[in-house]
């Protein structure tokens, strides 16, 4: 396991008597997508604002890409990209002028800017919007432009605070494609989202509730722990062969008049391979796999996860 690129220890933030974030310990591996989930007012945005150095913690340590963010918050700015909940485009300036403005602050100009922006413009389908002002653009395009701007200077760590809030399904899908491409290219992505299902696109998921970290694991591990597990239903074909295959895949099998059903906390690659073999041997059999919805996992986490003292 490599050294975490984001690490917090005992990170806390209090506003008067209200504790927004309470002794948070996080570790994010480089090049991964880290989903930070929680309800409204749970402390997600407060945490992200502390991680990017614009909110001073009450207590605790933060290191991002080796930089002590608590004591030297300015130093982290060259290493990170950030997209907040509000899309940060200046009204009255065209999208192109916004790009030049932010690029200028990062010292990006000339051919380097053209090369980088040209690639992002293509990737985010922004060519037609380039000459228009943000106030004249649909929300989804503004959001895409905001994400593109946060990546303009090729940051090592990308912080995204609810990047898909208020955007259409097509744009959400595009966002996640881009985020996964960035992570594949080595960028670490720290993302908060209200769309709990989006956690499935991430390598690691942390749940925060009332400022406390209540779950911190890969999505599949959370599914195993906080759901009734996968359900596999086989209809048609030879029920005995189906039951044998499900048993071999590690599922607890129950027979019904119309189908063979199996359940398991998780479906490891070996189990999936067994189901594929069943499908190949019995073409008449219809195999249906039901993955526990992440929304249900989230609900279960909120009710069942032990709270740290």
């Amino acid at each position: 396991m490599s050294e975490p690129i984001i690490r917090t220890r005992g990170l806390s933030k209090r506003f008067g008597d209200f504790t927004a974030v309470d002794a948070l310990d996080l570790a994010v591996e480089p090049g991964t997508i880290f989903a930070f989930l929680g309800g409204n007012g749970s402390g997600k945005s407060t945490t992200i604002r502390m991680l990017i150095g614009i909110l001073e913690p009450t207590a605790g340590e933060i290191r991002v890409d080796g930089i002590d963010v608590v004591h030297t918050p300015r130093r982290v700015r060259d290493h990170i990209g950030y997209m907040g909940q509000k899309v940060s485009l200046y009204q009255g300036l065209s999208l192109r002028e916004n790009v030049e403005f932010y690029a200028g602050l990062f010292g990006l100009a000339g051919a380097a800017l053209e090369r980088r922006w040209g690639a992002l413009r293509e990737r985010f389908d922004l060519a037609a919007a380039e000459g228009r002002r943000p106030e004249d653009l649909p929300a989804a395009i503004r959001q895409r432009a905001g994400l593109a701007l946060s990546m303009l200077h090729e940051p090592r760590v990308l912080f995204l605070d609810e990047p898909t809030a208020g955007v259409d399904v097509r744009s959400r899908s595009l966002f996640w494609d881009v985020i996964q491409e960035e992570a594949a290219g080595g960028t670490t992505v720290f993302v908060t989202t209200h769309f709990v299902e989006e956690a499935d696109s991430c390598d690691w998921v942390a749940f925060i509730d009332a400022g406390k970290l209540i779950a911190d694991a890969p999505p599949e591990a959370l599914r195993e722990r906080f759901s009734d597990g996968y359900r596999v239903t086989v209809r048609g074909g030879d029920p005995r062969a189906a039951a044998a295959a499900l048993t071999a895949a590690g599922l607890a099998v129950e027979s019904a008049p119309d189908a063979v059903r199996g359940t398991a906390p998780g479906l490891p690659p070996g189990a999936l391979a067994e189901l594929e073999r069943l499908r190949a041997r019995q073409p008449d059999a219809h195999v249906e796999v039901q993955q526990p919805a992440m929304t249900d996992v989230f609900r279960r986490v909120l009710t069942d996860a032990p709270r740290p003292a």
Binding site: I52, G53, I54, L55, E56, P73, R74, R77, D78, I80, Y82, G84, Q85, K86, V87, S88, L89, Y90, Q91, Y102, L105, F106, G107
Partner: protein, 368 residues
């Protein structure tokens, strides 16, 4: 109309208003402040004006006149020995006026002639000079009448010859023109900048700016300098308008006035940025600006003479950069003074500027 609905609306409005300390503060403090301050500054009475007295006669009659002037309570008398001393005191602001009793004053009065006392004012403070002159004339006339009654042989009483420095016609326009720079630059510059950061914060762009490598100083200058440039142009246009339309040109160096004004703008723009950085909404920033402008109008000497205010209030007025800027503005416009005459005021203004820019830097760069 439903009384129940109206009651519901009234209750909500009252609760919302009373739970906002800022609104309550404005509702209670501003009317009280306005009443007290206007009471002090709008009075046409003269209180404790420092009046130099050059008694060239030192006779019982001249002492009587001086005693009567003191007895009014309107003046704090400052004995001087020469006219040079008077002029110096008027220029540096230690004196608000002077009265010169000529040699032979008592003798002339006793012999039935009408002696002339000379009243001298700094007419750059046109309002104050007008008020003070009225008082002096009243006291001198009353004293002259009493002395004439005692000495039936004397017939004429005492005449007052008025001399004014710096604004011989006691014209109000130059006084107001030179003060207007202070009002416009103090109020408008603050108002324009007061909404900039708060608007950016509400739009999300300020947060984005904070995570770029731009330093707080760069962000501050990025806001101050373009706005300062616009106001520098405004100052030049105002100077031209005052000259061409009102016939009021600076008696001193126009370039010096323009430079001082442009630097003063950076001070007021910083104040606007402080309001902006400490406000949650644009409306709150505007409210702060309006409250800030009340003392500018009342206490900075823009319209009402500071030297006519109670002593403690005069000290308060020194806490406003606008007071010093308006003083400099009038000194250049009306008295034609330059950097060598004005360096103490310039230093104070520079100190205010440095302080306000520093506070603006700290408030803008603060991690909440």
């Amino acid at each position: 109309m439903s009384w129940q609905r109206l009651r519901t609306l009234l209750r909500r409005e009252a609760r919302a208003s009373l739970r906002d300390p800022f609104t309550v503060g404005i509702l209670v403090a501003v009317p009280l402040l306005a009443m007290v301050l206007f009471g002090f500054v709008l009075s046409t009475e003269v209180h404790g004006l420092r009046l130099a007295v050059l008694d060239g006669d030192a006779s019982p009659a001249s002492r009587r006149l001086i005693g009567d002037l003191r007895a009014t309570g309107a003046f704090t008398l400052v004995p001087v020995r020469s006219r040079d001393e008077i002029e110096l005191g008027l220029v540096d602001g230690r004196l608000g006026g002077a009265i010169v009793v000529p040699p032979g004053f008592g003798r002339d009065l006793a012999e039935g002639r009408t002696p002339e006392v000379n009243a001298i004012y700094d007419a750059a403070e046109a309002v104050l000079a007008g008020n003070a002159e009225g008082y002096v004339r009243g006291v001198v006339a009353a004293t002259g009448a009493r002395l004439a009654v005692r000495r039936p042989a004397s017939g004429g009483g005492i005449a007052v010859v008025t001399s004014v420095l710096f604004n011989p016609t006691l014209a109000g326009v130059p006084f107001m023109v030179s003060g207007t720079f202070g009002f416009v630059l103090s109020f408008l510059a603050v108002l324009i900048t007061a909404v900039t950061i708060v608007n950016e914060r509400m739009a999300g762009t300020f947060e984005q700016l904070q995570v770029t490598p731009a330093t707080t100083l760069e962000i501050l200058l990025g806001k101050l300098l373009p706005m300062g440039g616009v106001f520098a142009l405004d100052i030049a246009l105002m100077m031209l308008a005052a000259g061409l339309l009102l016939g009021v040109w600076p008696n001193g160096s126009a370039a010096f006035f323009w430079i001082v004004s442009a630097l003063y703008v950076l001070t007021t723009l910083s104040m606007g940025l402080i309001f902006s950085a400490t406000s949650a909404t644009a409306a709150e920033a505007v409210q702060k600006t309006v409250i800030f402008s009340i003392p500018i109008v009342q206490l900075s000497g823009f319209a009402f003479p500071i030297r006519n205010m109670p002593g403690w209030l005069q000290w308060v007025t020194e806490c406003f950069p606008a007071t010093h800027y308006i003083r400099i503005s009038r000194a250049i416009y009306l008295r034609g003074e330059g950097p060598l005459d004005l360096w103490p005021e310039l230093l104070i203004l520079a100190a205010f500027g440095a302080l306000q820019v520093t506070v603006a830097l700290r408030t803008m760069g603060a991690r909440t």
